[in-house]
């Protein structure tokens, strides 16, 4: 009779199939328990207390659930270690601080550098006015549309903040900063600010003040890098104010580019930290309890 031989062959095939399935377990688990898993399956086949019709579905269900469980367990053991997570968080924090610095410092340098021509222009015009030259003579004739042109311009105002001579026009009118700016310059002698005479919104106090200055709001904003200085006449009385400004469009484009580069740097650093954490976590993963 060939029946015992057929059963042995069948068992051998099942054991071989199971041995192949065992290879799907994570390596540390497989190395620790592979022979025992195969032996337990062999014992179950030999024992016969559970028919093959019942045993095989049971083992298939067990393989599906335990493979998932052991792989998840391995991932948790590998990557959910407090030291590993702490290191990754510290590095991510450093990367974030570095990216913020990469964003902020160049933007500040660009913004401060945007004032350089205006400082010189304001100084020169103030010097002329303080020598007693009339604003109309001191301000070189020009008609610069500050919404479009990037050319620096100067405007002279009297002590009440009314324009007395100007190279700049905005919608056909001479722009006037909010009165609070003149108050500040009256006390401190100079102010350097980003001024938005054309308004995208009207919620801001300064913007409302600018509206009072006679400028119509538009759907987009024009921002001016402005330097405002007080004119002090020789007799000590106030000779008004000088504003030197320049459209910040190009500076803002560069600031935007810096922001994008900083964001890309941040993402790249986080990706590098994540990859490094995965690699380091994998090579330092704990072995199974058997190995200890």
């Amino acid at each position: 009779m060939s029946r015992p031989t057929e059963v042995a062959d069948s068992s051998g095939r099942l054991v071989n199939l199971y041995a192949m399935a065992v290879r799907l377990y994570p390596q540390p688990f497989r190395e620790a328990y592979g022979p025992s898993l195969r032996q337990a399956f062999r014992d179950a086949l030999d024992d016969g207390s559970l028919s093959r019709r019942a045993l095989i579905p049971l083992v298939l269900r067990d393989l599906a659930s335990s493979l998932l469980k052991e792989h998840l367990s391995m991932l948790r053991d590998t990557f959910a270690r407090p030291a590993l997570i702490f290191n990754a968080l510290v590095l991510a924090g450093l990367a974030t601080v570095l990216a913020l610095a990469l964003n902020t410092i160049p933007q500040q340098v660009l913004r401060l550098g945007a004032n350089d021509p205006q400082i010189a222009l304001a100084d020169d015009l103030v010097a002329k006015l303080e020598q007693g030259i009339a604003p109309a003579d001191a301000v070189a004739p020009a008609s610069i549309d500050i919404a479009r042109s990037l050319t620096p311009f100067v405007i002279a105002y009297d002590d009440q903040g009314h324009p007395s001579a100007s190279q700049a026009r905005l919608d056909g009118a001479i722009p006037v900063p909010p009165s609070g700016v003149f108050d500040y310059v009256r006390q401190h002698g100079e102010d350097r600010l980003s001024w938005q005479p054309i308004l995208g919104t009207t919620s801001n106090k300064d913007e409302k003040s600018a509206l009072n200055g006679g400028m119509a709001p538009r759907g987009h904003g024009v921002r001016i890098a402005a330097v405002i200085q007080r004119v002090k006449l020789a007799n000590g009385s106030s000779g008004g104010f000088v504003l030197a400004g320049r459209n910040m469009r190009e500076v803002e484009n560069r600031e935007h580019l810096v922001g994008q580069l900083a964001a890309l740097t941040w993402i790249a650093m986080l990706a590098l930290i994540a990859a490094g954490t995965v690699v380091f976590g994998w090579y330092t993963r704990p072995g199974p309890a058997q190995a200890h």
Binding site: P35, L37, A40, D43, A44, S49, L67, S73, A289, Q290
Partner: protein, 128 residues
């Protein structure tokens, strides 16, 4: 896990069945529980015990068994007592912590059964 401390949550059916099987082996000292020189039980015997009605009727395959044993060893509930000469069979036994945890779980289940019985959800002992 310290000795004598009850588990924070109910044990999983697989863990409970393994603890019960190993405790049964130690209690009876049955020669069927494994080679006398080591004590304890090997994997298939534990699976077979768990499948029996007295062992909880848990249908457990080799993967679940050894995965559970791995975690139980980490938790200090069981320990390996030996390996067969061909290193295919590993034998396990309860630790003191494992005994305490099993006792606590049995006590919890006993209280639940007593409560269910007092509510008439299951027949009183001695009847039927």
């Amino acid at each position: 896990m310290a000795t004598g401390i009850a588990p924070a949550a109910p044990l999983t059916p697989a863990v409970f069945a393994i603890l019960l099987s190993l405790a049964e082996g130690e209690k009876t000292g049955s020669p069927a529980t494994g080679p006398g020189r080591w004590g304890g039980k090997h994997g298939y015997l534990i699976m077979k015990d768990a499948r029996s009605p007295q062992g909880g009727g848990i249908q457990m395959g080799p993967g679940t068994l050894y995965g559970s044993l791995e975690r139980m060893m980490r938790d200090g509930l069981v320990e390996e007592s030996g390996v067969s000469d061909d290193e295919r069979r590993r034998y396990y036994r309860l630790t003191t912590t494992g005994q305490s945890v099993l006792a606590a779980e049995l006590s919890r289940l006993d209280a639940a059964v007593s409560s269910a019985r007092s509510l008439g959800l299951i027949p009183q002992e001695g009847r039927s």
